[in-house]
Symmetry: C2
């Protein structure tokens, strides 16, 4: 019988006196005159299992993987209820203990930056394995939420020929020899880019399947380096037919609260070992208690001006403004809606005032914008005039325009930044701490 | 009360005499002297709802989205048990019926190729909406299977600096102006490519978390066009520490059978409307009944030679060979294992015979290879000598080599082609029929 440590600790005292095989690696070792005590972990849980070895083995050291056959006994210590009395040990991949000194496997506190520099070893640390298990649970909860609510998971394309957000921060995809290129002969026969959002394709899907969502990577070649941006990040984009901005806000809030409520239960053990665990639990619990504050862009501008910020109507709200609003003024997540036309993409629905569009952004403490969404412009004529107004390429957009040509309905959706959400949940200063192998300007982490 | 048609048909006769709001679009319309009968669908299910309208409305036509308030009544026809007596109808996005003639929304049988040329409208057809709901269920079942079995979902990077499979079919990712490029100033400061597989990063994760899986896009710039290849496809790659080739085969077979067993139940209605539905159900049921045949590469070569194929030991098995083996010889999925070293990537574990590696491919009828996997070479010295043997860049591979340097364990994993699996399940001739917006040489579908 071979189990993960997670399964084993769940079965607990019912295993006493049973023969068990356990596999994992050494996190800690101490020896007294009679016995050696080895703490092993296998990544299935943050919890460890203590192994008792009758005689010392010099090769058993921190970082070494072991396979141990033994008998489960009641623990004499008070840290754990069961431990394993080793009868037979197989040692994998011996290495010199001094080599460990150069790595993040050395048992001491390392800086997050140093951990990141050895991303491929980070998975073996308490900190990062917990982050990864939390990330798994968040991802699973998202799929579960949408599945039980009748949404279909759609794989929108990664390689596209259009810049949905109009940000010009595009990665080009090519098979040309970059030194002697000939654009005509490139793989797709036209310019191809990495997607910045699956939204436009998601809209087409929602107009056929009613409720859909995407869950996939997106890319922005932004040159600025901030602790909240990645060049490659994961996005979740629900899109729903017969859905207005109000419905959209409701869905977004319900989804976030569903995730947070359940992560507090599912990832309890992993949150326990994070820095400021009490603060984290408090922050997460607080989110659940109140409705997110809905406030129009125009009102936000008034508040900012009244509080001494140098901003006028029509300008974009930046991170400093967001911080003031959610951390000092409201002290709670807010949903800002109805933004000026000129600072939002062409596809958002024009409001009756002709000055604003039915956009909404959800702003969270510390991480800022966690969700951006809108009701989409479903009216054929207005969409065409918006494309003209923004001077966009209507030939390349023809398929998108056609989704409104053969009947269409009001529809809405949003993009949830998965990494940002996990950054918020784990209270991580840098978003690079929550994704396995971060990508940013001048750096491909391995 | 507004429900999807799926929810409505589930609640069924309990809704009789209740006031209901239904939204969807017109699939069919017929009028007699007294009434108009309109069939609507909303994408939530392949099933439709019949609406009875007291007087004709010329604007209500095929393709038009409607919002109908009315009362649920017992149906007089025998096709459905309930129908909706319309009291009030809102018509969205009117368009000229003759415009429909140019599109795949026109109610007649279209070729798959024509459907694909209007990918953005395909979601509104019976055929493709069913494929998408099946694709959703397959995806959800995969997440569910891994979650309940203690695997963690890892997001391996899409942008990489290495060609894992050594196939040279790489897409380069760049922010250079392709006409006047300067490689030094490119975004990442080094060559960057789209991933062909998340495996190497998945290995690093498994060595810390024991059981992990990936679920994401992968890319191959293969110039050949076949009905079984996409330039952008979705892959599921489990990777498990303390796992050998035998365990690996068991997991792969169990996963596939779990998906097929459950899809027959979950997607029953959608399979019903596919071409050759009886054949599909028979094929899927047959897969569940027997263990996949395990056979070594060496034995396969002997069978092929005996059956007149011009092949010698050391050559790769091609699609024609695979077809013969699974469709004519064994008439059942097979797992071919222990391939010659020279035709497989460097990271596969060398067998004792020094001629073969612990690889395995699962071959299915019609679609060919559906899974490719191996036990990985965990022995530091042998991995180094393999890298040398294949003349690979050991500097760029240093991080990967280091996953074996500080202890390591036997580990295995495989890649499941999600699109291929769905192609098999839905008995689709072309893989482009099972992904929303296919990408292939010279073509970015919209």
């Amino acid at each position: 019988m071979c189990n993960t440590i997670k399964q084993l600790l769940k079965t607990n005292t019912r295993l006493i006196n049973k023969n068990i095989v356990v596999k994992g690696w050494v996190k800690h070792k101490r020896t007294n005159k009679l016995k050696t005590f080895v703490i092993i972990n296998d990544g299935s849980t943050i919890k460890n299992l203590q192994i008792i070895i009758e005689k010392e083995d010099q090769y058993i050291n921190i970082g070494i993987y072991l396979k141990i056959k033994g008998i489960i006994v009641l623990s004499k210590g008070n840290k754990q209820t069961i431990e394993l009395l080793a009868k037979n040990i197989k040692i994998y991949g011996i290495f010199k203990y001094k080599d460990l000194q150069k790595t993040i496997l050395q048992p001491k506190k390392h800086s997050y930056k140093k951990l990141r520099e050895q991303s491929y070893l980070r998975f073996r640390t308490n900190f990062f394995s917990s982050i990864m298990r939390i990330r798994h649970n968040v991802s699973y909860l998202i799929h579960k939420y949408f599945h039980k609510n009748g949404f279909y998971y759609i794989h929108t394309p990664i390689i596209t020929n259009y810049d949905t957000e109009g940000s010009s921060n595009l990665f080009q995809v090519t098979t040309l020899n970059l030194k002697t290129n000939d654009l005509q002969s490139d793989f797709f026969g036209e310019n191809a880019y990495l997607t910045v959002s699956g939204q436009m394709h998601a809209e087409a899907a929602a107009l056929g399947l009613r409720k859909i969502y995407t869950f996939g990577p997106a890319f922005r070649a932004e040159k600025s380096k901030t602790p909240r941006h990645l060049s490659e990040f994961w996005m979740v984009e629900p899109e729903i037919a017969f859905f207005n901005l109000k419905n959209n806000m409701f869905l977004a809030e319900e989804l976030i609260k569903y995730i947070i409520k359940n992560i507090l239960i599912l990832s309890k053990d992993d949150i326990e070992i994070l820095d400021n665990k009490n603060l984290i639990v408090n922050n997460l619990t607080k989110i659940l208690n109140k409705e997110f504050k809905r406030i129009s862009y125009t009102k936000v501008i008034k508040i900012l001006i009244k509080n001494g910020y140098n901003i006028i109507w029509g300008q974009d709200i930046n991170y400093e403004h967001e911080k003031f609003l959610v951390e000092i003024y409201f002290k709670y997540p807010i949903i800002i809606f109805n933004y000026p036309i000129d600072i939002k993409p062409f596809y958002m629905r024009k409001n009756k005032d002709k000055q604003t569009v039915a956009a909404m952004d959800i702003i969270f403490p510390k991480v800022g914008e966690i969700i951006g969404g809108s009701q989409r412009e479903e009216r054929y004529d207005i969409l065409l005039s918006q494309i003209k107004y923004f001077k966009l390429n209507s030939t390349i957009l023809e398929w998108y325009i056609n989704t409104r040509r053969f009947s269409t309905v009001p529809h809405s959706g949003f993009g949830l930044g998965l990494d940002r959400l996990i950054q918020f949940i784990t209270n991580s200063k840098n978003i690079k701490e929550v994704i396995p192998f971060p990508r940013s300007r001048n750096k491909i982490y391995t």
